[in-house]
């Protein structure tokens, strides 16, 4: 299972037999980078990341393309990427792209993400960094900007050649030129640009522009692009509205901007939301937070000249008969008791049940589904509103989902949704809903947490509701400890160190470590584990600087606290005679070299009090104690 697919699955979908998930697995993403190669893109500038180094917009864009492809290995290993340069005099001699419009050049034909192309591109980027004229020599600019229509036409041809039909196809358009017509109001050119773009849209391709803006050349989208780039959400009503997917950024933010678009936005479900009987709007649900796991390993078979992935196919067999059973014949029931010894079992083997002909004691798949859904149809149903404070910290079992109105299924959804959002934020309310997100899911109750869009620079949180699944009584565990000794008075003055939890500051180190090794192996490079940096480790220096003295103070208070000297009376009479030794005793034994003389139960008792492992032989225990004592002088 490639990790990307995890994003597109809901947790409820365990029963793969009844669920068709193939839809998501086949849906691949195809990105064509269309990078402007004009003079301003090739012009050398100071590298913001390296002192005394130079770079160009084109180089940065190519670098971004490398990074995006590497990311794709993690998020969409079956996706395809291609790179096309435009406004370049370079032509494809033959091979893919040799017949595309003049001024466009296929640098990397569409292909599934793979190590070779990434290595090639990385080499080009590296060489270009060393030899700054390289890109200029290899991919010289055309004198004039090519017609935008030609650009789109070439994109269309390249994509059509290389992209699977079912995939989502996107063009990442990277340019710093806000006026490719150079001021001329040639309506014919604008029309051709629009028509060719329409052709693209009709072929299911979306254009995601990344416009580069610089201080000396600010990008003005209204000069040209905003008029040409119609977005898909456009209709006669919102024709005047600005397309959302426009991204204008500084070159250093280019990669960050692209990261937002690295996977196509996909809805997990599109269901009706019943606010009240006969008051229904349409919504779409998205997964904005899900644990990204390492991809599971796959099995390969050696075909001699190459390794081929094998597919595992699960069948259901009657073991006694060694026969595969037709899916249509299968019914569902409960396993027989573990020690069944009736005649039938003896006669026909384990797990059988004899049923009189013409009668049915097992359920059909449809019946089983109705037990799971309790006969409900997919949808959200509003139950009412509660105060925000009712949503407790501990009422969580799973990640949340995000819902957004869908005007397409119910006209008026968006304004109703927005009014609800505004009202709930104003009143400090959360919603309580009954949710059945998919046909084969089971109903759950969820809190509806409103979120208003944030305004400002950079990443803006979208407007919508977070759908937070609440635990059932079945999911709640009792607190195993009901009593304990408490601190008599305030002992700590905690030091504030962060403003909030920012996921962006914490890349998953285990995942990164895994992919770093995977990449090194794929690139046939040595992997150096020491060079790996774990960003999740506490910043000890900062803690010490900000809180060191406070912690010291706290420790002192703790040592003087009277209640800490209380003796805990152990419940239960079976306890053996007290064998425990104090830390000081153990330490003095250690220092005098007499640790080995302790009994194993004494050692274990000490280890247990320090939350250390109790496994192993006496020598292991001794070593573990010694290690701890060394670390805690």
């Amino acid at each position: 299972m490639p990790p990307y697919d995890d994003w597109n699955k809901l947790d409820e979908e365990e029963d793969e037999e009844l669920q068709d998930t193939s839809y998501f697995e086949r849906k691949h993403d195809v990105i064509l980078f269309a990078i402007d190669c004009s003079e301003s893109m090739l012009a050398l500038r100071d590298d913001p990341n390296h002192e005394d180094a130079k770079t160009s917009h084109l180089l940065s864009a190519l670098d971004a393309a490398v990074q995006i492809q590497k990311r794709k290995v993690v998020v969409g290993p079956y996706d395809s990427v291609g790179i096309m340069l435009y406004n370049t005099a370079r032509r494809n001699e033959n091979g893919p792209g040799s017949d595309i419009k003049k001024g466009t050049y296929v640098y990397q034909p569409m292909s599934t993400i793979n190590a070779t192309t990434i290595i090639d591109l990385t080499q080009l980027v590296d060489e270009a960094h060393d030899n700054l004229d390289l890109l200029n020599e290899e991919y010289p600019s055309t004198e004039k900007h090519i017609p935008v229509g030609d650009l789109f036409t070439s994109c269309n041809w390249v994509l059509r050649d290389g992209a699977p039909k079912s995939a989502t196809k996107r063009i990442f358009l990277i340019t710093d030129n806000d006026d490719p017509l150079e001021g001329s109001h040639n309506s014919r050119l604008i029309t051709s640009a629009r028509t060719t773009l329409t052709d693209l849209l009709q072929a299911g391709v979306t254009v995601e522009p990344f416009f580069i803006s610089t201080d000396d050349r600010p990008f003005n989208q209204h000069k040209f692009w905003a008029n040409v780039l119609v977005t898909s959400s456009e209709s006669d009503e919102d024709f005047d509205l600005l397309p959302v997917s426009l991204s204008i950024s500084r070159i250093d933010d280019l990669l960050e901007q692209m990261r937002f678009h690295e996977v196509p936005k996909r809805a997990l479900f599109n269901i009706p939301f019943e606010l009240a009987p006969d008051l229904v709007i349409g919504i779409k649900g998205y997964g904005l937070v899900t644990e990204q796991k390492k991809g599971a390993y796959k099995y390969f078979v050696d075909l001699g000249d190459k390794m081929e992935v094998v597919e595992s196919i699960t069948t259901h067999v009657d073991e006694e008969r060694e026969a595969e059973v037709e899916k249509s014949e299968v019914l569902y029931g409960m396993t027989m008791g573990a020690t069944a010894e009736d005649e039938d079992t003896q006669e026909h083997g384990f797990g059988t049940r004899s049923v009189r002909a013409g009668r049915r004691v097992f359920y059909t798949a449809e019946e089983v589904r109705s037990f799971r859904t309790l006969g409900l149809e997919p949808g959200l149903k509003l139950l009412g509103f509660k105060d925000r404070s009712e949503l407790a910290f501990e009422d969580n079992v799973r990640h949340s989902l995000f819902i957004y109105p869908d005007e397409g299924t119910y006209a008026g959804s968006q304004r109703t949704f927005t009014a609800l959002l505004i009202s709930m934020v104003k009143k400090g309310k959360i919603g309580l809903v009954r949710a059945l997100t998919r046909r084969n899911a089971s109903p759950s109750f969820c809190a509806l947490l409103p979120q208003e869009e944030s305004e400002g620079e950079g990443w803006a949180e979208p407007s919508g509701f977070h759908l937070i699944p609440l635990p059932f009584a079945d999911d709640i565990r009792a607190a195993p400890i009901e009593e304990g000794i408490r601190a008599g008075k305030e002992l700590v003055d905690a030091a504030k160190m962060n403003s909030a939890y920012q996921p962006d500051s914490y890349p998953n180190p285990a995942l990164a470590f895994h992919y770093a090794q995977l990449e090194a192996t794929a690139f046939r490079e040595e992997f150096d584990p020491d060079s790996f940096e774990d960003h999740t480790l506490p910043k000890y220096n900062t803690i010490q600087r900000k809180a060191g003295p406070l912690i010291k103070e706290w420790l002192k208070c703790l040592q003087n606290d009277e209640s800490a000297k209380a003796v805990i009376v152990e419940a239960g009479s079976k306890r053996k005679a007290d064998v425990s030794l104090s830390e000081a005793e153990v330490r003095s034994r250690y220092e005098s070299g007499g640790l080995m003389q302790l009994r194993v139960d004494q050692m274990k008792d000490f280890l247990k009090s320090k939350s250390l492992a109790l496994s192993g032989k006496k020598a292991d225990l001794t070593e573990r104690i010694a290690e701890w004592l060394d670390e805690h002088p």
Binding site: N114, D161, T168, L201, Q202, G204, H222, V230, S233, S235, E237, D240, L241, K265, N270, Q292, K298, F300, D305, V309, T314, H316, D318, L331, G337, T352, V355, A357, R359, V361, V368, L374, P378, L383, G384, E394, D395, N396, E407, G408, Y410, A411, T418, L420, I422, S442, P443, R486, V492, K496, Y501, P503, T536, W554, D561, A564, S609, S611, E631, H632
Partner: protein
């Protein structure tokens, strides 16, 4: 939090079942809930009905599968007698120990289901006798099991007269053993659910009042009517799981390097929430003898016997999962690129050949490249167990929607007062300042770290932390959404009035709606008479889990699902499915206002056609972008317009097609070679271009040595198996390791043809042999060739791959042994004489090989 329940299990239940003749009375059961149809009814005997209760209880024991959850069945009112007291002292007639105490199984249920009421009249005073026998049996069995609980369940219709003697003594005895007693009667009156049987017999009336009196004397007793008891069996009951305390350490600061300014607290963690899932279903299929029985199946309806006989039983067998591994591979070549559609059809279908698990290698995919990893995982990040605090932040900034998992408790070591004080002081401080802590948790040495947030939690008598996992940067998807409130137009100006934006009037209506739908005071009244909020997680049961359990139990107990339909879900299970009636009523006005003012129209937008630019597939762009064609409400969308635009696009494509065919590949650029093999198909994911088996020029990706060592090159060999010919030529051109190259190519050919699926490379191997022979001739490696050929024959012809040997034979003229004369022509020597070679060659035609 719900209270911790007493440990489950360690219970013996004895069912005392009345089988007196009156229990054979039929009763009509009304099967709810199909209000529209005639209420379906069913005739069952009192006994069958009562047994339902026993069977459901027993089924629960089977379901839980505890060895310490046992039961027995004692019948009273039987014709014969067989019980523990009778065997010892006589008396206690008409009480029969039907099933001995033990762990129940499906057989237990089957036996119960076969029970019938007695036909002959027996003295009616046996209920009390049965109780005494039951107590005796229990106390005997539990004599050595002091900590176990005993339970008696009496099932009766109360129609047989009871001899009321010594009942106080019996009650005392029950109390002294602390056994629990349940008396469940068919149609007993029950004030609680307001049920009163009409036309009750005098005997039953008397009996009921006796049972009431008796039950009142027994400390642990319940009494009730059967119909209610049956409903209560399906009452959702939470399966209590005790969380184990896991030992770990909470760090603040760096104890290893700066012990004076860092803190370590010994802590234990346990789960606070844990996702419970429904029991899985097992698959069953009928087992039919396909030969003789087929006749039976055809004639089954006539032979059918609805009576008690064992006629025409079908055996249903539980199915097991079996995983098979298949590999997709082309049976014929990869040269189909130029194929026009006609040829494609004729191509051999891609077959999924089965592969044994032993042949498989583990690895990962790097995009379409393969990275071997025999262990199934790479070296793991080295980590130390513990919870490290990375910083504190204001609780107001906590983003609730970022919680991505189950919640954990973090307790101080219950054995250490100093640790408890330390943790408590931290909890208190954080609580007072309203702070949460950012933490990194490693559950055990070497496991992957998780980020999370610690929140202070103060119970009545203890302080602790709650911890919940937060997403890593990798776990957050930043999709862009159009703003809902701050709309701007193409000129960059803010839009204030638009059909997408709610008006003040609309927001006002929504405000009233939100107020009306308030749940904060819609729940039960508490002790002080104040209404509590409606909906409480602690009593909200997972409907799927409990409904499935109910269905599973039902399925195990009944003999025919069509006749015995599953009862509706317990009301407790669906109590939160709809909002409280009062709220619904109160919100009526606000709801109606919203309906009018928001004027939502289903699917209306799809009908509007664009006015400015005719763009037929407009709405589909929306779908294409968001990518959810799958979705329910969108299914109705296909239109003629759509199809037309498709065909238009298709047409323009096909016009371009001829000139856009993939061009021959420049072999010097590996990247391009690869792309050629990887356009639309998914099967050629490998980094190595598949070799063409047409025998034409092989694509030579000329891997740069060093950088791309052939992953399939065996140690010590200089020829790899992926592109042997290219490797060979490369080595020969180097000119210094010819003998080694010859030997290795011979070895590779042999290896390749002996592997599974070798036929796809036959042509390539033949070509290798041609090249090899040529080189052998030129470079005086004639003896090597001759021995390679012999060896090849030996291993292929006999067992390995006779088909390949057949191929070699076809090329006998230029792949034969090199004889002396031919060798001499090239300036070499062969120890095979011409005549011998000739002879063998001839014998080839006579099927005697070489």
């Amino acid at each position: 939090m719900p209270p911790v329940s007493a440990g489950a299990g360690y219970t013996v239940t004895i069912f005392l079942v009345d089988v007196s003749p009156t229990m054979g009375t039929y009763r009509t059961l009304h099967l709810s809930p199909h209000p529209n149809e005639d209420p379906p009814t069913k005739q069952v005997t009192y006994l069958q009905w009562s047994l339902q209760f026993a069977m459901l209880k027993i089924q629960e024991m089977i379901f839980n599968g505890r060895k310490t959850d046992q039961c027995g069945v004692i019948l009273f009112g039987t014709d014969e007698t067989n019980n523990i007291i009778n065997r010892k002292d006589g008396g206690y007639d008409h009480v029969t120990e039907f099933l001995q105490i033990g762990q129940p199984n499906a057989d237990t249920l089957a036996k119960l289901a076969s029970l019938r009421a007695s036909t002959s009249n027996v003295p009616g005073d046996v209920a009390i006798d049965a109780l005494i026998v039951g107590i005796e049996t229990l106390s005997n069995y539990l004599a050595t099991k002091r900590s176990w609980t005993g339970r008696l369940v009496l099932l009766t219709d109360g129609e047989s007269p009871i001899e009321i003697v010594d009942w106080e003594a019996i009650a005392k005895r029950l109390n002294s053993f602390n056994y629990r007693l349940s008396i469940i009667g068919v149609d007993f009156d029950d004030d609680e659910i307001d049920f009163h049987e009409k036309g009750k017999s005098h005997v039953k009336h008397e009996n009921e009042s006796f049972y009431h009196k008796f039950a009142a004397e027994v400390a642990n007793s319940v009494m009730g009517t059967l119909s209610f008891a049956l409903q209560e069996v399906t009452r959702p009951e939470v399966k209590q799981t005790r969380s184990t305390l896991m030992a770990t350490v909470l760090h603040l600061g760096d104890p290893a390097n700066n012990p004076l300014e860092s803190v370590e607290i010994i802590v234990k963690t346990s789960k606070c929430t844990a996702l419970a899932r429904p029991k899985s279903w097992k698959r069953f299929a009928p087992r039919e003898g396909k030969s003789a029985d087929e006749m039976d199946v055809d004639s089954a309806p006539t032979k059918h016997d609805d009576g008690d006989g064992n006629v025409n039983k079908v055996i249903w067998a539980q199915l097991r999962m079996r995983t098979e591994f298949h590999v997709e591979h082309d049976v014929q070549g990869d040269d189909g690129d130029g194929d026009e559609d006609g040829l494609d059809v004729d191509r051999v279908k891609k077959g999924g050949a089965k592969v044994e698990k032993e042949q498989l290698v583990r690895g990962f995919k790097y995009g379409s490249s393969y990275v071997p990893c025999p262990d199934g995982q790479f070296q793991r990040l080295s980590t130390r167990k513990g919870i490290s605090i990375c910083g504190f932040f204001n609780a107001d900034n906590f983003r609730r929607e970022h919680s991505i998992g189950e919640v954990h408790y973090v307790w101080a070591d219950p054995r250490s007062p100093s640790q408890q004080v330390a943790l408590s002081s931290l909890v208190k401080a954080m609580d007072k300042l309203d702070m949460y802590a950012i933490t990194r948790w490693v559950t055990k040495d070497g496991s992957d770290p998780k980020m999370g947030v610690l929140a202070p939690c103060r119970f009545r008598k203890v302080d602790c932390f709650l911890w919940v996992q937060m997403p890593f940067a990798d776990d957050v998807r930043k999709y862009t959404f159009s703003p809902l409130q701050n709309l701007s137009n193409r000129r960059g100006e803010k839009v204030t009035s638009h059909p997408y934006l709610p008006t003040h009037e609309q927001i006002g209506a929504m405000d009233r709606f939100v107020d009306a739908m308030n749940l904060m005071e819609a729940g039960e009244k508490d002790e002080d008479g104040n209404r509590s909020p409606w909906y409480d997680t602690r009593v909200s049961y997972n409907p799927a889990i409990h409904r499935m359990k109910q269905a599973l139990f039902h399925n195990a107990v009944v003999q025919d699902l069509v006749a015995d339909q599953l009862l509706p879900p317990h009301p407790e299970l669906i109590k939160y499915f709809n909002l409280p009636k009062q709220v619904l009523k109160d919100a009526k006005e606000a709801t109606d206002e919203c309906k009018t003012i928001f004027a939502i129209k289903k699917g209306a937008k799809r009908l509007i056609l664009p006015k400015r630019v005719p763009r037929p597939r407009k709405n589909d762009h929306a779908r294409a972008q968001d990518d959810d064609d799958e979705i329910l409400l969108d299914r109705v969308a296909p239109s003629i317009l759509e199809n037309r635009s498709y065909s238009r696009t298709e047409a323009s494509y096909s016009q371009m097609q001829p000139q856009m065919n993939p061009m021959p590949v420049k072999p010097t650029i590996p990247r391009l070679t690869e792309d050629d093999s990887e356009t639309e198909s998914e099967s050629d994911d490998d980094a190595w271009p598949p070799s063409s088996s047409k025998g034409a020029k092989l694509p030579t990706p000329s891997p740069e040595p060093g950088m791309f060592a052939d992953p399939q090159r065996a140690p010590g060999r200089i020829i790899g198996m992926a592109t042997p010919l290219a490797d060979f030529k490369h080595n020969i051109s180097q000119g210094d390791v010819i003998s080694k190259a010859v030997e290795d190519l011979g070895w590779v050919v042999k290896e390749v043809v002996l592997r599974p699926f070798a036929e796809r490379r036959h042509m390539e191997m033949i070509e290798c042999l041609h090249e090899l022979r040529e080189v052998c001739l030129q470079e005086d490696e004639i003896d090597a060739w001759n021995s390679i050929l012999r060896e090849l024959k030996e291993c292929t012809k006999e067992a390995g791959n006779p088909a390949f040997w057949g191929e070699v034979q076809k090329h006998e003229v230029d792949l034969g042994l090199i004889a002396a004369s031919e060798a001499a022509r090239h300036g070499g020597r062969s120890n095979i004489s011409d005549s011998w070679a000739e002879k063998v060659s001839l014998s080839v035609r006579g099927k005697l090989l070489y």
